[in-house]
Symmetry: C2
Subunit: 314 residues, 2 copies
């Protein structure tokens, strides 16, 4: 048995994962992210003991603990080098957690951990695997030859921070035109609001007034109801996502590319038009094509991936 | 000793390469690319024997032969699956060459072979290495953990076929906005011609009239002479290249990224502003940064890389 921890800006989630990567039991607590890392790690330790107990394990059954954290991670030193989200800078998270629990540990960037989780369920052994997550931001993870690709400095595979619009919108990372500024759920919400404001007569505008808020699902829901404004927002958003995925496919030609994040619940509504665009714009015209799929684990991916990366640490 | 063959649209170049990747002797013959692959391969065989002899080797000194070819390559079957440039489709180049020369052989995409050649001279052992070549097109090669990254189907690392301008210029590959359409020497020549025509009073326009033709060096030369039109062309071109390199750095965070192709002879005139833009737009703010360098081998990279890939075939 292994424990995987998914450290997020809102919650710390942890779970018991068996040797085959099945999530047996999980629970979560609030991160209270404004605290220092020492306090956060102390709560992580208590949560590990809680999920082990409630999941029917003893701590002595646990072989290793894996952590997925936002930010730039120094895997070899077990540190969060920098995270804007949870305000850590050179935080020795692994050493701190080992003060409470004496087990082998491993830490990965959260998107890399989620990518590894999807890799495990989608077929370990696939030689090249890419995961793109559409959430608050656009995250990515790349698994090559069974290993998480981190670049030489641990900061690699930032697939959301490639530009698709030269001199485009300013990203939080400082660069302009990043995929994240067009294909994240945050961007979709903004696109939805702008279109509703520009088309006060639309069903979508009325829907927003009735519901009081806009989510990533708003445009998809209103498009189903036949609203032209929503159809246009959905189409343009999917076009942005497809542009990014198409670029990634031409760069990596991975055997499998999996799309995750909340919006991936839309399934084929999202995936079918992306697949069409990606295949039409694939540089590779004569060899087998990348399989495009929707994530299977959703929120569990980070826990499973962190646990399995700790298991398979090399 | 090894032989490396660089099959190009204009010439077939081949050379003797020693165990350490030094090019000892090379020669070339015209490709006459409209011929069938059998004729081309027959000439490749003769060229191998010629360079061995004139390079002071016997064929029995040669341990393996490596080939770099344009197009999509099936490395495991030794085939050129498709090349638009030399009009090959499912051509069993390795098997055909082995009819003349009974030696172990290996075939790679030409940009991958050149990348491997630069990797050898720039420091074998570097864990992540990217090569971008700015020529007629924009080619790329990625070496991860000492191995050429080919994607699952052999068509990977097409770094010139990621878009930087959504809905931009139509590329020869079918996609719109590809880096190749803005950052290749072909694109630079077009940008130079357009600017000269728009500014008939410019030194650059006079220079073109005097010289009778435009090359990739025209804007760089006229910029040195202080022509404002040329300065603007050079600046914009470098901006396009930097946009692409910045994207690649955010994706791979390689230890070393090398820029090659004819225009790389401009050295620091090209590299310094690219480095400035890439570092300013690097997602990684806290860890060591990718080294950006100019190619060392230039035309020899394809020969050396093909030979060394044959040596290290795995």
């Amino acid at each position: 048995m292994y424990i995987g921890i998914d450290l997020g800006g809102t919650n710390i989630a942890a779970g018991i994962v068996d040797d085959d990567g099945r999530l047996i039991f999980s629970d979560s607590i609030p991160t209270l992210k404004e605290r220092g890392y020492e306090e956060i790690v102390k709560d992580m330790a208590s949560l590990c003991e809680k999920v082990a107990c409630e999941g029917g394990c003893k701590m002595s059954d646990i072989k290793a603990i894996g952590i997925g954290s936002p930010g730039t991670i120094d895997n070899s030193r077990g540190m969060v080098v920098y995270s804007n989200n949870i305000k850590m800078h050179n935080a020795p998270v692994v050493a701190e957690l080992q003060k409470y629990i004496d087990l082998p540990m491993n830490i990965e960037n959260d998107a890399n951990a989620a990518a590894y989780g999807e890799y495990i369920v989608y077929g370990e052994g696939v030689d090249s695997f890419v995961f793109v997550t559409l959430g608050t931001g656009v995250g990515g993870g790349v698994i090559i030859g069974g290993k998480i690709y981190r670049g030489f400095n641990g900061a690699g595979a930032e697939l959301g921070h490639s530009s698709i619009v030269i001199d485009g919108k300013k990203c939080t990372c400082g660069k302009r035109g990043c995929l994240e500024m067009y294909a994240s759920v945050t961007a979709l919400i903004e696109q939805t609001k702008e279109a509703a404001a520009a088309h006060p007569e639309s069903i979508m505008n009325k829907w927003i007034a009735d519901n009081g808020k806009v989510s990533g699902r708003t445009a998809f829901e209103c498009a189903k109801a036949g609203d032209e404004t929503a159809v246009a927002v959905k189409k343009q958003y999917i076009r942005y996502v497809a542009e990014g995925i198409s670029n990634i496919v031409n760069i990596f030609q991975p055997r499998t590319l999996v799309i995750g994040g909340g919006i991936s619940k839309e399934g084929d509504e999202l995936l079918a038009p992306i697949r069409e665009f990606v295949y039409e714009n694939d540089y590779n015209k004569y060899m087998p094509k990348t399989e495009l799929k929707i994530a299977r684990l959703l929120n569990g991916a980070g826990i499973v991936g962190a646990a399995m990366a700790a298991k398979n640490k090399s």
